[in-house]
Subunit: 349 residues, 2 copies
């Protein structure tokens, strides 16, 4: 039986998951539940590319040679220094008869699982890349497992817009699910209140739209400066916009409570800044939920903070995967013009 998560592709060390592997088997022949992609482009993780560029003093030729060497040695693109990868775009080449991913040969897809666990073989020596950008045009093959995630690129949206949306698509899906749990047709107050910390950003604006669509009675987007305040107010995505430093628990909770008229039933943390845990907890009503999407979240600060504040709140580690997350995020972009405008504004700059 297949492991579904690619254990059969791990060459060394034995018994680890593909992400932790030093070397993967990148051969193009697929198993019964695998999918082969004809790769067109890699998008290297920003931290990985910066490290490579810095270590080679901006010598594109040397960067290109190192990326090629990493892929040939490891069977995947995982920067040994940063540990990070990126994602890829390509066309579905062959689909194993037992693949559950619902893909068809010819589909143009983006992989939503990291390159750090994706078997990858390059066949053109990266000849079309100058080593000076995270965008790596190339030819080769990549393998998806049964439990991989790939999204078909839509015909009606700019691929760069779609990729930008896919990058954060877990946030609106999980926000929608959690807010939906607080919606009761019998509730006297009409529904849950939602605070999104970092409401003007990519995941923040999608989460605000998702919260409203899921039945929030009132939403507030918290932003750190006047420019983001103006942007978010103009968008109309939040019922209220509050200016506050998310690292200041007292100021943040006061701003949220003032804007919503009471603490939030659901607080969504979308700012990649350390030290927002206590403010998010203090902004949340008893019985409420905090969803932490920020990778700067400290597990210990959240756990000890809630205990120290005697806060009966559910705290979720933001899982980037929710079934249907990519389609849901694209739907929000299509149906909520303000979200689309925010994303297109970011791409333009």
């Amino acid at each position: 039986m297949s492991s579904q998560v690619g254990l059969e592709r791990v060459v060394a060390p034995a018994g680890v998951l593909p992400q932790a592997a030093e070397k993967l088997d990148n051969s193009p022949e697929i198993g019964q539940d695998e999918v082969r992609i004809r790769v067109e482009r890699l998008n290297l993780d920003a931290a990985s590319f910066r490290q490579l560029e810095t270590s080679h003093g901006g010598d594109g030729e040397a960067v290109r040679a190192e990326v090629l060497e990493i892929i040939e040695r490891r069977g995947k693109m995982q920067n040994p220094v940063t540990g990070s990868g990126g994602m890829l775009i390509g066309v579905v080449d062959e689909v194993g008869p037992e693949s559950p991913l619902g893909l068809t040969p010819g589909d143009r897809v983006a992989t939503l699982v990291s390159l750090t666990l994706t078997p990858l073989a390059i066949t053109d020596g990266l000849a079309g890349w100058d080593g000076r950008s995270e965008q790596v045009p190339c030819a080769g093959t990549a393998i998806l497992f049964a439990r991989s995630i790939a999204a078909v690129l839509p015909d009606d949206l700019d691929p760069l817009l779609a990729l930008s949306v896919f990058d954060v698509c877990g946030a609106p899906a999980l926000t929608s699910r959690v807010v939906g749990r607080y919606v009761s047709p019998l509730a006297g107050d009409g529904g849950p209140t939602v605070a999104v910390i970092g409401g003007a950003g990519k995941s923040g604006s999608l989460s605000l739209a998702a919260a409203r669509a899921a039945g929030a009675v009132r939403t507030v987007g918290v932003v750190p400066n006047a420019a983001e305040q103006a942007t978010l107010e103009a968008s109309g995505l939040a019922d209220a916009v509050a200016l506050a430093d998310a690292r200041d628990p007292v100021a943040l909770s006061a701003a949220v409570t003032a804007a919503l008229g009471r603490p939030a039933d659901v607080t969504v943390v979308c700012v990649d800044v350390p030290g927002c845990e206590h403010g998010a907890i203090l902004s949340t009503a008893a019985g409420g939920t905090v969803i932490f999407f920020s990778m700067a979240t400290s597990f210990a600060a959240a756990a000890l903070g809630a205990e120290g504040l005697a806060a009966d709140v559910t705290m979720l580690i933001g899982n980037g995967y929710v079934p249907g997350h990519a389609d849901y995020a694209l739907r929000l972009v299509r149906e909520v013009p303000a979200v689309r405008a925010l994303f297109e504004g970011r791409l333009a700059t």
Copy 2:
């Protein structure tokens, strides 16, 4: 209006929560919703005491002087190096008319919020302590806020046993709540399956008992060695006991699935070892929940791991506070002899 969380007691810096404060106002006069405790004993956090002992080369007199100096300077016992505190035992002295804690003068209590946020004044110069143990007999006063937590020490249990239970009482309460959500009277399979990683420890054994009481149809306790395996098997607290390295995702998930007959609906992580995130996720069924109680949990490893495995699991940061948690844990100790025996066995060694 009171902040309920002690903001009025923060002397410096302005605007932070008591835990982050450099100095608290430790004056014994209480506000309308505060409680004053007559302190009998401090239990210093183990990491804090070890640091103090090491830095003074085991000179108890010097350790005593430094603890006294810290408390006088900061108005609380928070080790400036480790950042940690501990807890205290005392007798309720005065209760403000608006305190919601339900305490009565004369109650003998243990505080379940950290000393790092508790205003504390020492009146005997720590004269009764030799500086050689984490247990600090002393006289003084401490203040509880409206949103503090204190548990009345029960008459029928050894205080050391009760303290040992209070130390981990958030785990069984949250486990019970989460498992209860998976119990459906209409479920054909009889109820949820539960895996407790680190099942022979303090929080682990309580969580196993809580899972069973909440309606789990089958439980497995995972342990790292033969000694713990024998202990847990003899206790009968788990339906199955599995020996596995929790840091090995493939081995852990295989052991859990074999023991339960399927992946766990709820996985509870109670081992303070880094690197257990992926194994816990892989051990959990789609739609299931992982509760991370280990302070060694990496937020990023959990978030990225679930995404990389396309795992639709809810991941909870184990909040040490659930209303009624101390009473619930004591009830399990009273009603489940095997839990009590495990705790008493640990105290005896």
